[in-house]
Amino acid sequence: MKDLHFRNYFKNFLLDLEDFITIYDENLHVFNYEKLVKLSEKEIILKMNKKEVIIVGNNLKIKQMTNQELLIIGSILKVEFKYE
């Protein structure tokens, strides 16, 4: 239904409910993560909306971090999703 789609879109715009991951060059931007589970040079595990995101790479570092967003830098080799 078109109406419902619009309502969801507007709700998300206002409340930032959707989560997403953007990767470009050696940067990985995560929006709306719930928890930082593990952080190491080779692996970062994040908890996001009923799934776990496993980022594998080398020399991984947190460039910027807020309660909602994360900017990870380093050479990213793999991004894995584990659904509960």
């Binding site: 930082l36 952080l39 190491s40 040079e41 570092k61 947190i62 460039k63 910027q64 971090m65 807020t66 309660n67």
Partner: protein, 388 residues
């Protein structure tokens, strides 16, 4: 506005630190890892949280940003900043303060009068300079108050000195009346005309007189006895002779401006001038416009006007006429309106390769009568007689 700071953590475990900061809900704006420390950019208020909860970490504020940095810089360099501010204030005060008043006039009475007037109008030393409008007001007021004494007044500033140019009113005095005087010859001459208003003529028309000879005497005599003494007056015109020597070169140099102008700047420090740009014209004359002046320091805009020197070779006749005119002009400079040249004659003419030399004899008609005031007592002492 977020006040951000860089915090230095003396710790090597980067990942553990980030996790702990994450647990505390601290926003990280940037992070760097060095050999033996970790640098994290956070909000200023989050630093207090770190101090409170991460006791085991040795931390210090590494660098500040934004307003915090400005605040920190001000606190750190407060003495330097204060010194600069005080210097600027001092310079401004120096630039606007009057330390000396220079009144340009030879008359001490006028000087005192102007000084008192300036004082009454608030223009004294160790006071701030006034603007143009205020100065104009004061000048007009002083001139109005001293209409009979002052003709013109100008006030200007030169560095810390206030220069006051003042001209006093010149009262044309009526011709003084003397009791006893003679009219004497001002130079050697032959008398051409004699108009006697008062006194006794001792010479006649066509008589030759030497400089200082009495022409009209103030002694009124009868039977060779001085009966009365008056101030002789009259007009005596006579022939005066001059010998004028002039030399004129055949080559005449004239400066002609080409119309090509270039602009430059110069700095003047203690009467020494330094040009900022190299002059691109070979022969030029300068015209300066002052842009900035502070005491002995000046910055001027210089207009360089190019010129060429044109050499003209005169013929012998042209040089001769020029020399003759030059000789005549030399004499005319000395003459008044009612005096004239009666005759001119070339006595000697010498022509060299480069110059012409003339010796010109000129006869003029001049007023040769000169008033000589004589002291009666002195005259009596010289003559050993008294008027009856």
């Amino acid at each position: 506005m977020n006040k951000l700071i860089w915090v230095k953590f003396y710790n090597n475990n980067y990942y553990q630190l980030i996790l702990r900061l994450n647990k505390l809900g601290i926003t990280i704006y940037n992070s760097k890892k060095d050999k033996d420390c970790i640098l994290i950019k956070i909000k200023r208020e989050d630093y207090d949280k770190i101090k409170k909860y991460l006791i085991s970490y040795k931390t210090e504020i590494y660098s500040l940003t934004g307003i915090l940095k400005i605040d920190w810089l001000i606190k750190k360099y407060i003495i330097f900043i204060m010194a600069i501010i005080i210097s600027i204030i001092f310079l401004l005060i120096c630039n606007n303060l009057v330390l000396k008043i220079d009144i340009k006039n030879n008359n001490n009475q006028i000087k005192d009068l102007v000084q008192n007037e300036l004082k009454a109008n608030g223009l004294t030393i160790l006071k701030f300079k006034k603007n143009h409008k205020e100065i104009e007001k004061v000048v007009n007021k002083i001139l109005d108050d001293n209409k009979d004494t002052l003709e013109w007044l100008e006030i200007k500033y030169d560095g810390l000195v206030m220069i006051v140019n003042v001209t006093e009113k010149t009262i044309i005095k009526e011709k003084e009346e003397y009791n006893y005087c003679h009219i004497v010859a001002s130079s050697d001459a032959k008398i051409l005309s004699l108009n006697i208003y008062r006194g006794v003529p001792l010479k006649e028309v066509n008589d030759y007189v030497l400089k200082g000879d009495i022409i009209l005497s103030g002694d009124i005599t009868f039977n060779e006895e001085v009966k009365n003494r008056v101030c002789a007056s009259g007009e005596v015109y006579g022939e005066v002779w001059y010998k004028v020597k002039v030399e004129v070169p055949f080559k005449e140099e004239n400066i002609k401006y080409t119309g090509k102008n270039r602009y430059n700047f110069n700095i003047k420090i203690n009467d020494e001038k330094y040009k900022i740009l190299k002059s691109r014209i070979k022969n030029y004359k300068e015209k300066e416009i002052n842009l900035y002046k502070f005491n002995d320091f000046e910055i001027n805009l210089v207009k360089e006007k190019e010129y060429v020197v044109e050499t003209k070779t005169l013929t012998e006749e042209e040089a001769y006429n020029k020399a003759l005119k030059l000789a005549q002009d030399k004499i005319l400079l000395k003459l008044d309106k009612d005096e004239s040249i009666l005759l001119k004659k070339v006595l000697k003419k010498e022509v060299n390769d480069s110059t012409i030399y003339l010796e010109v004899f000129i006869i003029t008609k001049e007023n040769i009568g000169l008033l000589k005031v004589t002291d009666v007592a002195e005259e009596d002492a010289n003559n050993g007689s008294k008027p009856n």
